[in-house]
């Protein structure tokens, strides 16, 4: 029977069926569940790597050693992976290698809206783009064989709506794929100039072969409905177009996002009076058509911004208006994401806001420290940048500025790429204070283990990176472990460390409130000693609100963490045992 799977789980199933042996990734929404789904297959070695560069290199090594291998990341993770990626293109593969990258049009959970298709062109590798879960499975499976056939890593490009939509798939058995022999091959695997110069010739010849394949493969499919309007599309946009336009147009569905065919596009366009290119984000297909001299309508009828919808496509192509709809009579308050009740980061940001510090931020749940009312984060750039950007700020503005400056970075993000920034601070005589928000897990992406948790992706016990020793080992002499819920002591620690003219690290230690073993007893209640000073409202706890002038705590939301008890200057909030 057909199974309902999200695209990510279908990619994992496709890789499993193709005989993948090694999978290494770093979590990142919307790609995380691919690697998590691999855990269900005991035959496959799977790991969380410290970052995407490492993950990609593990996959390259596994491929070189003869295994089918895979690495998965989100669009910005591909930036981190770019260094090995561009040279892996020259080396090619031994065992087939697949890189899955999930873009996030609409930025549901990302800091930018970049279009990963450019990487395929820039790195001269091949890219497939599935439209639903059945294609996720089929394309991934095909990609391993194609990777070996053309001696090149294949990329599976996903987007949030493909990764996180469930649709029906037929699953199959795992293919018996033997480990290929490992033979030392300096000309292919040692990329120093003399060898790389020769490999570049191979890469360009391969590009021609891939372009020829793009002409003949059924991955690029024409649906001729006898219309004079043509639509060239790929990925989720195909599904939107199919729903919006039905049989009213002809389709050229590009399952191969790179390289794209030439003749197939010319022939398709020649049968139509007007051709639309329907693609989210950048005009990647559109520019390819233009370069061929094929006239198309693309971004001028659509947008570079966010996600497309079927209604948008129906209007742009057929001039159809959407269904009538009701409207609310008044503006509806927005509901932005917030830190959970009991979130350990709340204590940290409460103190940072109180001290009026400049906060160099990073990527994780704690990016929410930028939102009201805690509103203390000044900047968010990319993974690890909180540490290094703060060094830049301090070097630009001097010691006085630095005494009002901290970096905040999660435990997993620190291991990912914060540690290199910290080494820069020590090496180059900086005096920054870095706060590592150690909540014992990778939180934002849904609780993945990492090198600081002492467990592998399969939950097995392993060596645990000791953050305190690590920071001391790179030369930080002042490392303090503090509890962000003990607000008075935590505030004292922050004051001391920022005023120091030497590098310091504060490890703010308290586990994520959503971890199963985190259980606070009782619930917090407001007593009649409340003076309505609203100090507790500064915490931005979703459970605390003011109703008709009185502060109240919603017992259905409160998890009893007690942070509000600690900040109330009148001792007016108490812990009450659960009824």
């Amino acid at each position: 029977m057909a199974k309902l799977l999200i695209g990510n789980a279908a990619v994992a199933q496709g890789a499993y069926e193709a005989g993948v042996r090694v999978v290494s990734s770093y979590p990142g929404t919307p790609s995380t569940e691919i690697t998590e789904s691999i855990v269900q297959y005991p035959e496959v070695y799977v790991e969380w790597a410290p970052n995407e560069k490492v993950a990609c290199e593990v996959a390259v090594g596994a491929s070189m050693a003869g295994a089918r291998s895979m690495t998965c990341c989100k669009h910005v993770g591909l930036n981190v992976m770019a260094d090995p990626l561009f040279t892996a293109s020259y080396i090619g593969v031994n065992g087939g290698m697949v890189i899955c990258v999930a873009d996030d049009p609409g930025m549901h959970s990302s800091q930018n809206e970049q279009d990963s298709r450019h990487y395929a062109k820039a790195a001269k590798i091949a890219m497939l783009e599935p439209s639903d879960s059945a294609e996720c499975l089929a394309f991934t499976k095909a990609a391993f064989a194609l990777s070996e056939r053309f001696d090149v890593p294949f990329v599976i490009r996903l987007s949030t709506r493909v990764s996180h939509s469930q649709s029906l798939v037929e699953t199959g058995a795992r293919e018996a794929v033997e480990l290929k022999p490992y033979e030392k091959n300096v000309a292919k695997n040692v990329m120093m100039p003399a060898m790389a110069i020769k490999r570049h010739v191979v890469v360009e010849e391969r590009a021609k072969k891939l372009a020829e394949y793009a002409e003949s493969t059924e991955l690029n499919r024409v649906e001729d409905n006898g219309s004079r309007i043509g639509v060239i599309t790929s990925g989720i946009s195909y599904m939107y177009a199919r729903e919006a336009l039905g049989d009213a147009v002809n389709y050229l569905k590009l399952g191969m996002a790179y390289p794209m065919p030439e003749q197939k596009i010319r022939d398709f366009a020649a049968r139509c009076d007007r051709v639309f290119v329907i693609e989210e984000l950048d005009p990647f297909i559109e520019e390819h058509c233009r370069a061929l001299g094929v006239e198309v309508t693309g971004k001028s009828a659509f947008t570079m911004l966010g996600e497309y919808t079927p209604a948008m496509i129906a209007k742009a192509v057929l001039g159809l208006e959407g269904a009538p709809s009701a409207e609310a009579e008044e503006p509806i308050p927005v509901r932005p994401p917030v830190m959970c009740p009991g979130c350990p980061h709340r204590g940290t940001f409460y103190v940072l806001k109180k001290l009026g510090l400049t906060v160099s931020g990073d990527i994780g749940c704690y990016t929410l420290g930028a939102a009201q009312p805690l509103a203390s984060v000044d900047s968010t750039i990319c993974m690890g940048a909180s540490v290094s950007a703060a060094l830049g700020m301090a070097k630009a503005r001097g010691p006085e500025f630095n005494r009002k400056l901290v970096s905040v970075i999660g435990d997993s993000t620190f291991i990912h790429s914060g540690i290199t920034g910290l080494i820069d601070i020590v090496y180059n005589k900086g005096a920054n204070t870095v706060i590592i928000l150690d909540n014992s897990i990778t939180g934002m992406t849904g609780h993945q283990d990492n090198p600081t948790t002492g467990r592998t992706i399969r939950g097995e016990a392993t060596k645990q990176v000791d953050l305190e020793l690590l920071c001391r080992a790179v030369g930080v002499e002042h490392v303090v472990v503090a509890d962000p819920f003990d607000v008075k002591a935590f505030e004292q620690v922050v004051r001391e460390e920022v005023n120091r003219d030497e590098p310091s690290v504060i490890i703010a230690q308290r586990p994520c409130a959503l971890l199963k073993y985190v259980k606070y007893s009782g619930r917090c209640v407001v007593t009649d000693r409340c003076k309505k000073c609203r100090m507790c409202m500064k915490l931005g706890c979703p459970a605390i609100s003011v109703k008709e002038g009185a502060v109240s705590i919603n017992p259905d939301l409160c998890n009893g963490c007690g942070l509000c008890v600690n900040v109330c200057p009148f001792g007016a909030i108490e812990k009450e045992a659960e009824a």
Binding site: L4, H108, S109, H164, R335, A371
Partner: protein, 191 residues
């Protein structure tokens, strides 16, 4: 056969994801084509969450546009109000009467609209239910999602037995008993 569009809305952490999974599994049990669009990542942290379930002979797009939802299943009042433009003419809103203040209301930057149920009623067919109380009656306040699924089940063409079977295969065994009770309370609910 026309595609049936069900939009499930709520606040991150309320269990909308499990609701959409139960619905999706019930629908494939009936032999329909189906697509379920989920939300993961940052918006799950107490933000507005929207999932779509679409089923019929052949479903292409996983998302539901304005004026296209046959049923809006809302876990929270304000989110029901926010989803109103997505309801089709003649569609039904099933709403849990729980109100969870969003941060702009908590900080005083905005007001939570009053009388949302009657405002919705002026523009659409509405069934309101205190699913949180019923979930507690079933034995676990987290079973709000299954109470709501129970109530919604009556508004679909999918038979009762299919729902029970789906719960048995979708819900972790340890929570099955509570969830079966929660489903019954929703299914038998009379306004």
């Amino acid at each position: 056969m026309k595609t049936t569009n069900i939009m499930i809305v709520g606040v991150g952490g309320q269990g909308t994801l499990l609701a959409s999974r139960i619905l999706g599994n019930a629908v494939i049990g009936e032999g329909y084509d189906v697509k379920v669009s989920e939300v993961h990542g940052m918006s799950q942290r107490g933000g507005s969450v929207v999932t779509y379930v679409k089923f019929g002979e052949k479903v292409y797009s996983p998302i539901i546009g304005r004026g296209e939802a046959d049923i809006v299943l809302a876990f929270e009042l304000l989110e029901a109000y926010r989803a109103l433009p997505f309801l089709r003419e003649g569609g039904r809103i099933i709403v849990n009467t729980q109100a969870i203040d969003p941060m702009p209301v908590i900080t005083g930057a905005a007001a939570y609209p009053a009388d949302i149920v009657s405002r919705l009623g002026a523009q659409a067919a509405v069934t309101a239910i205190d699913a949180l109380s019923l979930a507690k009656e079933a034995g676990n306040s987290r079973a709000v999602n299954v109470v709501l699924i129970g109530l919604m089940a009556k508004n679909t063409a999918i038979p009762y037995e299919r729902w029970i079977e789906t719960l048995k295969t979708t819900v972790p065994p340890k929570f099955l008993e509570v969830n079966l009770r929660a489903f019954e309370l929703g299914y038998r609910y009379e306004k």
